[in-house]
């Protein structure tokens, strides 16, 4: 049917029309050199088998559908949480186009970063000239308060020396001598985006705090959120600390950057941690990292160079938040106020309302290591049973920590922890040992389609659902959000599987 402007159909319905389905069939049969449908069906069934799983897990060289990115995005993410900071990526320019695009697609917000646009000549002679020019141009055009430099793999392979290049750029007059230009080498062939976060965080803190150590503590607590992409989380942390009366500094707070209001004018650098506060973080009482695997080098640096106490505390789920608040109370001497206890009670109340739908439900999860630990721990508290835990960028330390958590829970006995595996491995796990639901980022939707297993979207990126990133997952309030997403996904799915009138709608209950 030709279009009717009163009811224009786009790709969603247009290609279901018979003239298009005929076009597809004609193309397939006559021109594509396609495999016969029965052969496609046979192979499709085979990929669901144990035999396929064994072959799939025997892979040594091939990665298919990974669940990790490369370092510079983590570095950019860390940098963008500081006031007036422009990330400057030394190397090929295409990377920066991808990084900005990815972050913009997730947040539906602007994301600014510049590249030194290195090409063949820089590959031969090095990227010094690119940096000297790039520093001058970006400083003058975009008027940042700080430029945070990281690298693409091109600059790493040819061995660009950022420290020397930045000094050269300053000596060449591109930027003032006292202008802060922290840097981090972020090779894409080492670690993942969470490694880049750590490297840049360490780079920024060491730059800004240089010579700022005072004899007395400022009494504050530093919080490092890690590669946590929920803008609601830093806001929730601030609220909780405000209620407790704790004086704190969040080191890299991108919540306003990635959730700026629409007031009719574009602001290039909304919000962020004040540079003077970051500089004074060296004088804090203690630093609390809310993630472990995004901060090992940073914590080591703080411990050894600042001689400051560091802790890892994950304020997620009931126990995680309990432990966090208790530890912060001990560190600061501030009591945990009744308001937070009431919130805790509300979360526990909500859990007891919903637990029956979650208890004994088998689930699988993939994502970054700290996210997996936080979410899995919370679900264990509610009696859910993890089966497959897959962490593409997890290491042996993560595996041990995760296994200890599982061993400590009667609901964790069945779970197996997979590190350095990808989402094509995950597919085999889901087909051979199915679960009731799985948790992952938007890339998981292909697995949802293939396996029909209900999916709860938690992680980064979230491209195909709007506004999930705005919520908190942190603290008791964040726990309510996670609970809501999990239990209502299960109930939606139950309705979907009981909605055929007269056939399957016996259990299509109004009240659950």
């Amino acid at each position: 049917m030709p279009q009717n402007p009163e009811r224009t159909v786009d790709h969603v319905d247009l290609f279901k029309q018979p003239e298009y389905t005929e076009l597809f069939e004609n193309k397939r049969k006559n021109f594509e050199g396609a495999h016969p449908p029965e052969e496609v069906e046979r192979v499709s069934e085979w990929t669901k088998s144990w035999d396929y799983r064994e072959k799939n897990f025997a892979r040594e060289a091939l990665t298919v559908n990974p669940a990790k990115g490369c370092q510079p995005v983590g570095a950019m993410f860390a940098a963008l949480g500081f006031e007036g900071t422009l990330p400057f990526v030394q190397g090929s320019q295409g990377c920066v186009a991808y990084f900005r695009t990815h972050l913009s697609r997730h947040y539906k917000e602007p994301c600014s970063a510049v590249s030194s646009s290195m090409t063949e000549d820089a590959a031969v002679f090095g990227g010094l000239n690119n940096m000297i020019e790039g520093m001058q141009v970006s400083y003058q055009l975009y008027k940042p308060k700080m430029i945070a430099v990281c690298t693409t793999c091109m600059a790493e392979v040819i061995g660009d020396d950022l420290g020397a290049f930045i000094t050269n750029s300053k000596n060449a007059g591109s930027i003032p001598q006292d202008f802060p230009v922290p840097f981090a080498h972020t090779p894409s062939f080492v670690g993942s985006h969470i490694t880049g976060y750590d490297n840049m965080m360490k780079g920024i803190l060491s730059n800004l705090t240089e010579g700022k150590k005072k004899a007395t503590s400022n009494g504050k607590i530093n919080f490092i959120p890690g590669f946590d992409t929920y803008v609601g989380n830093n806001r929730e942390l601030k609220r909780m600390m405000g209620v407790m009366g704790v004086d704190y500094t969040i080191l890299s707070d991108s919540s306003d950057y990635f959730d700026s209001p629409n007031m009719g004018e574009y602001e290039m650098y909304p919000g962020g941690t004040k540079l003077e506060d970051a500089a004074d973080s060296i004088n804090a009482k203690a630093t609390v990292a809310l993630q472990a695997y995004t901060t090992p080098k940073t914590r080591e640096y703080i411990k050894t160079q600042w001689k400051q106490e560091t802790q890892v505390l994950r304020p997620f789920g009931v126990k995680g938040t309990d432990e966090f608040l208790t530890a912060v109370s001990e560190l600061t001497g501030k009591a945990i106020p009744e308001e937070l206890e009431i919130e805790r009670g509300r979360l526990v109340d909500a859990i007891t309302d919903s637990y029956a739908w979650i208890h004994g439900k088998k689930f699988a999860i993939y994502g970054d290591p700290d996210l997996i630990i936080s979410i899995t721990s919370f679900l264990l508290e509610m009696g859910a049973e993890p089966v497959h835990i897959l962490c593409n960028n997890g290491d042996d330390t993560f595996k041990k920590e995760m296994e200890a958590i599982l061993a400590a829970s009667p609901f964790g006995k069945e779970a197996k922890v997979w590190i350095q595996k990808d989402l094509w491995h995950f597919r085999s796990l889901l087909f051979t040992e199915p679960v009731d639901f799985f948790i992952g980022n938007s890339y998981g939707k292909y697995l949802w389609r293939d396996t029909s297993i209900p999916m709860v979207r938690i992680g980064y990126p979230l491209f195909d659902r709007h506004h999930l990133h705005r919520y908190s997952t942190l603290g008791y309030q964040g726990g309510l959000n996670i609970l809501n997403w999990v239990v209502n996904t299960l109930l939606d799915e139950m309705d979907r599987s009981t909605n055929i009138t007269g056939k399957t709608d016996i259990s299509f209950d109004l009240i659950r």
């Binding site: 030709p2 009717n4 402007p5 224009t8 786009d10 790709h11 290609f15 003239e19 076009l23 597809f24 004609n26 193309k27 397939r28 594509e32 396609a34 495999h35 496609v40 192979v43 990929t47 040594e60 060289a61 091939l62 990665t63 298919v64 559908n65 990790k68 990115g69 490369c70 400057f88 090929s92 320019q93 295409g94 990377c95 186009a97 900005r100 695009t101 913009s104 697609r105 590249s115 646009s117 290195m118 090409t119 590959a123 940096m131 020019e133 790039g134 970006s138 400083y139 055009l141 693409t152 793999c153 091109m154 392979v157 062939f189 080492v190 629409n262 007031m263 009719g264 597919r427 890339y443």
Partner: protein, 497 residues
């Protein structure tokens, strides 16, 4: 065309450009100056330089050769496996980013929305990745037996560490009995996506044409030729564009024997040279292979434009003119069939859109090809520019645009924002990196790379959707919500006083 008052507009816009350029340091200003201009009627090109290195630090929207080869040209070939060879990021950050629609069972006989990578580690950089690549190709042929072939898409390190991917391609191709195509599309090569297109085109010539020659020589081409065989080239089927175009070509009696590369297959790549005529939509990304087809097989090729009813009808007639009277009559029938629908679309939307202005900044063919579609709706283009054009693109642009249109090549974020602030267009049509900047300014915006998750926009079916989408952007009530009423009232009072 040009109203006399536009004489002043040319000068005014030239002054604007000079004003914007003042923000640059001198050396960089001199470089950028060559890429910005104002179109003056009767000039043979737009008066800008292009296809030159981006100035470091300016915030260019450009991508790289890998994006041009893997992302644009080869990625959409659905029954081949395209390896992002090198570190994990390039393929991960771009995974499923381009909406090249295809029909197929993903992971079984089609692989378009998947990400295959050699996930380079430090040891691969130090010791080289050829062995890993060989093993990887063996592994993927076991796990994905219905793949028709493999392409190796090089990321930056490959060319820097001296790997011999051509040797691996030849060896593994024999091993698995399928084409394995190596691409030297490292991101540092060239100045933008554009060189990646060229490299990708040349790989078709060097690694796929021989397959055609061999099959032809051995008389094994699975193909009954007809006088009406065409190849549809340079359409990546964003949101289904190529299908909406193919529909019209088939309706006029032509046989589309190959789609390059949206919803394309290896078989269509191989049998492309058997067509009688090449129809190319995106000239920028696939003109190279048209020239190769012409040189090697004597195939004629022609450009066309399927955006908006004016250009679609003109293009259908131009295409039909290459064939016999039967096809020419059919083309008239197709135009006649869709004219009432198009009139209904225009009757509905033109009154709602007429008199609006738009500024464009996209890549490929769109900075010129979509201009007539906007004009069909009464929307005037006041500025346009290309991410990665060459001089031939700017030459092809002059007859699409009006006097005094601002032209910006490889525009920087700073320049684009300043032009928009000065010219105050009603709509911006550009990409994701620009979208939220301008929406924060309260300006309606449509993504012109991904069709903002809508589409198709090609063909008659596509134009109805294009019109709907421009209307929903421009006439959305949401824009009027921006700004607190008390602030607006205060500003008004202040202005009155």
């Amino acid at each position: 065309m040009t109203p006399p008052e536009n004489k002043n507009l040319v000068d005014e816009n030239k002054e604007l450009i000079q004003e914007v350029l003042k923000a640059y340091p001198e050396k960089s200003r001199k470089k950028r100056e060559k890429h910005l201009n104002v179109h003056e009627e009767n000039k043979s090109d737009c008066g800008v330089k292009s296809n030159i290195k981006s100035v470091p630090g300016v915030m260019t929207a450009r991508g790289c050769a890998y994006a041009g080869s893997k992302g644009v040209v080869w990625g959409p070939i659905k029954d081949m496996i395209h390896i992002s060879h090198g570190p994990v990021g390039c393929g991960y950050w771009s995974w499923s980013g381009r909406r090249n629609y295809y029909v197929g069972v993903t992971g079984i006989n089609s692989f378009g929305t998947m990400h295959f990578t050699s996930d380079f580690q430090e040891r691969d950089i130090v010791f080289g990745g050829d062995k890993k690549l060989t093993k990887l190709i063996e592994e993927l042929d076991v796990l994905f037996p219905l793949n028709r072939g493999v392409s190796i898409q090089s990321e930056c390190p490959i060319g820097l560490i001296g790997d011999d991917i051509e040797a691996v391609a030849k060896k593994t191709s024999k091993q698995i009995g399928k084409p394995v195509v190596p691409l030297r599309c490292e991101g540092f090569r060239g100045v933008s996506q554009s060189l990646g297109h060229h490299i990708a085109n040349d790989a078709i010539r060097d690694w796929i044409f021989p397959e055609y020659d061999k099959l032809k020589k051995e008389n094994r081409l699975d193909f009954e030729p007809s006088p009406y065989d065409v190849a549809l080239i340079g359409d990546y089927n964003i949101g289904g564009d190529a299908w909406a175009s193919r529909m019209l070509l088939e309706e006029m009696g032509l046989r589309v024997v190959a789609q390059w590369s949206g919803d394309g297959t290896l078989n269509e790549l191989i049998q492309g040279p058997a067509a009688k005529l090449v129809l190319i939509h995106c000239y920028r990304s696939m003109n190279y292979i048209c020239r190769s087809l012409e040189e090697q097989y004597g195939m004629p090729w022609m450009e066309f434009n399927f955006f908006g009813p004016t250009k679609i009808a003109a293009s259908l007639r131009e295409i039909a003119a290459k064939f016999d009277s039967k096809i020419q009559e059919n083309a008239e029938k197709v135009i006649a069939k869709y004219t009432p629908v198009m009139n209904a679309v225009l009757d509905k939307y033109r009154p709602r859109l007429e008199g609006n202005t738009v500024m464009l900044y996209v890549g490929g063919l769109r900075p010129r090809h979509v201009v007539p579609a906007f004009e069909d709706l009464g929307i005037k283009v006041v500025g346009t520019g290309y991410e990665f054009a060459h001089n031939d693109d700017y030459k092809r642009t002059t007859h699409y645009i009006d006097n005094a249109t601002i032209i910006y090549d490889d525009v920087t974020a700073y320049e684009f924002e300043e032009f928009v602030k000065a010219k105050k267009p009603d709509l911006i049509a550009s990409g994701i990196k620009e979208k939220y900047v301008f929406q924060k300014m309260g300006l309606p915006f449509r993504q012109m790379h991904s069709w903002d998750y809508s589409g198709p926009y090609h063909g008659y079916d596509g134009f109805a959707i294009f019109a709907r989408d421009m209307d929903l952007a421009l006439n959305s009530p949401t824009w009027s919500l921006i700004g607190a009423p008390w602030k607006k009232a205060a500003a008004k009072a202040k202005a009155a006083a």
